[in-house]
């Protein structure tokens, strides 16, 4: 379980870092700012989960955050509003 948590966290961090370094060109400046704000909040939430990796539900919550990051970073169209 600990290895799975580590993999999910690495995946989340990689997607966020990749987005921060090179956001999709189709995204407006405003859309980019909203996405970055959301992603940084998620990163904080994920680190918060790591305070007790073995607590019930942690693995599932990490998966939920991973899905959310995939959704945000996978968006190529213009985003006028936060997710």
């Amino acid at each position: 379980m600990m290895t799975d948590s580590k993999d999910l966290v690495s995946e989340i961090n990689e997607m966020i870092d990749s987005f921060m370094k090179k956001p999709p060109k189709t995204l407006s400046h405003r859309g980019r700012v909203y996405c970055e704000t959301d992603l940084l909040e998620i990163k904080t939430a994920v680190n918060d989960l790591l305070e007790d990796k073995d607590a019930p539900g942690t693995q599932d919550m990490l998966k939920a955050y991973c899905d959310q990051v995939k959704q945000i970073t996978g968006k190529g169209q213009d985003k006028g509003q936060p997710a």
């Binding site: 998620i42 904080t44 939430a45 680190n47 918060d48 305070e51 539900g57 919550m61 955050y65 959310q68």
Partner: protein, 345 residues
């Protein structure tokens, strides 16, 4: 008239918790990382001092309780007008010390929020126990471990709500449901400010992590101050825990938990090689005890190192060394890791 001390204690406790919620409702935005990082180092320390004094004025009593466990000469006494602002003043202009105090005191503020969350939940559970005492299937008896875990799950629920993650929120809610915490209880806690405390906690932990990253940048080329990652086994749980430790010259050993995998990875070449002695610290500051002063009166560092080496490394000698501003190299002599002859002394 008999005083119901249990009721009185509960009222005092609730008042303290409400005070912390009110503080963060008014000042919470200052702790959001973007806003916090727009402050200069002095302003950050002032904010942390003001916050510590407001939300946890009882730190003086807690500090005294810990000191009273030590032999008399080893105790540090605080004056009646002692303040955290004094502690911060003495650090201003010394970059590493400023960062160490940021890390330490932001961590303490976060933990004050966590303690307040636990008290809030505990008070609610007391009410529920009373309300449903005639129903066997509605038993609100929590062990200390269950109380800790449920506090954390509630915290995660509110954080999931803040990040607008519906599934994470559902997962947390499912966990809470198993402990009979449903919509009504969640809304009652929200009304009391549990979510405000969650935000306060998570913002202060972000500040701590950012300060750790900045301190690593400052320290990595400093050959005189010991710092780094320390992996320790928790004696109660048996789990391995990661700590970030700095021997803050003039102030003492500072250690905090570290969870961010990127920060942990950035410390891969910096292992903290001494034991961690300071775990339940209330204060990180320059004050010294009579016992510690007796070493500094020896006149020079060589004499201090010699005397500490004779006594042998332990919590007291380590603290004497760090507060006496001995270097990493001198510390290694005390720990027998190098010879003073090898060191050219």
């Amino acid at each position: 008239m008999r005083i119901d001390y249990k009721k009185l204690n509960k009222e005092v406790r609730m008042e303290k918790t409400n005070g912390i919620v009110k503080f963060f409702m008014k000042n919470g935005k200052k702790f959001e990382l973007d806003n916090y990082e727009s402050l200069d180092n002095e302003e950050r320390l002032d904010l942390l001092a003001e916050t510590g004094e407001t939300i946890d004025p009882g730190y003086r009593v807690k500090f005294k309780k810990l000191e009273d466990r030590k032999p008399e000469d080893n105790r540090i006494e605080l004056e009646s007008d002692f303040t955290l602002q004094e502690v911060m003043e003495s650090a201003k202009g010394i970059p590493i010390t400023e960062k160490a105090l940021e890390i330490f005191y932001s961590n303490r503020i976060a933990h004050t929020c966590r303690d307040a969350q636990k008290k809030m939940l505990s008070d609610l559970l007391d009410n529920l126990k009373d309300t449903y005492k005639d129903f066997n299937s509605l038993e609100y008896e929590f062990t200390p471990k269950e109380l800790n875990q449920t506090t954390q799950t509630l915290h995660r629920y509110f954080i999931a709500e803040k990040t607008k993650n519906i599934n994470a929120k559902k997962i947390a809610k499912a966990q809470l449901g198993r402990k009979l915490i449903g919509d009504e209880e969640i809304e009652e806690l929200r009304k009391r400010g549990f979510d405000v405390l969650s935000k306060g906690y998570i913002d202060c932990m972000s500040i701590k992590d950012a300060a750790i990253a900045e301190s690593i940048e400052l320290l990595k080329d400093d050959e005189t101050q010991s710092f780094g990652l320390s992996r320790q086994k928790n004696k109660k749980t048996g789990k391995i825990e990661d700590f970030f430790v700095i021997d803050v010259q003039g102030y003492g050993q500072m250690s905090v938990h570290i969870y961010d995998p990127e920060l942990i990875s950035s410390l891969s070449e910096h292992e903290y090689t001494y034991p961690i002695y300071q775990v339940d610290n209330i204060l990180l500051f320059e004050r010294t005890s009579k016992y510690q002063e007796s070493f500094y009166r020896l006149g020079n560092d060589e004499e201090v190192v010699k005397k500490l080496k004779e006594i042998g490394p332990n919590a007291d000698t380590h603290e004497v060394a760090v507060k006496g501003m001995l270097t990493k190299q001198q510390m290694d002599i005390i720990y027998g890791k190098t010879n003073d002859e090898e060191d050219g002394r």
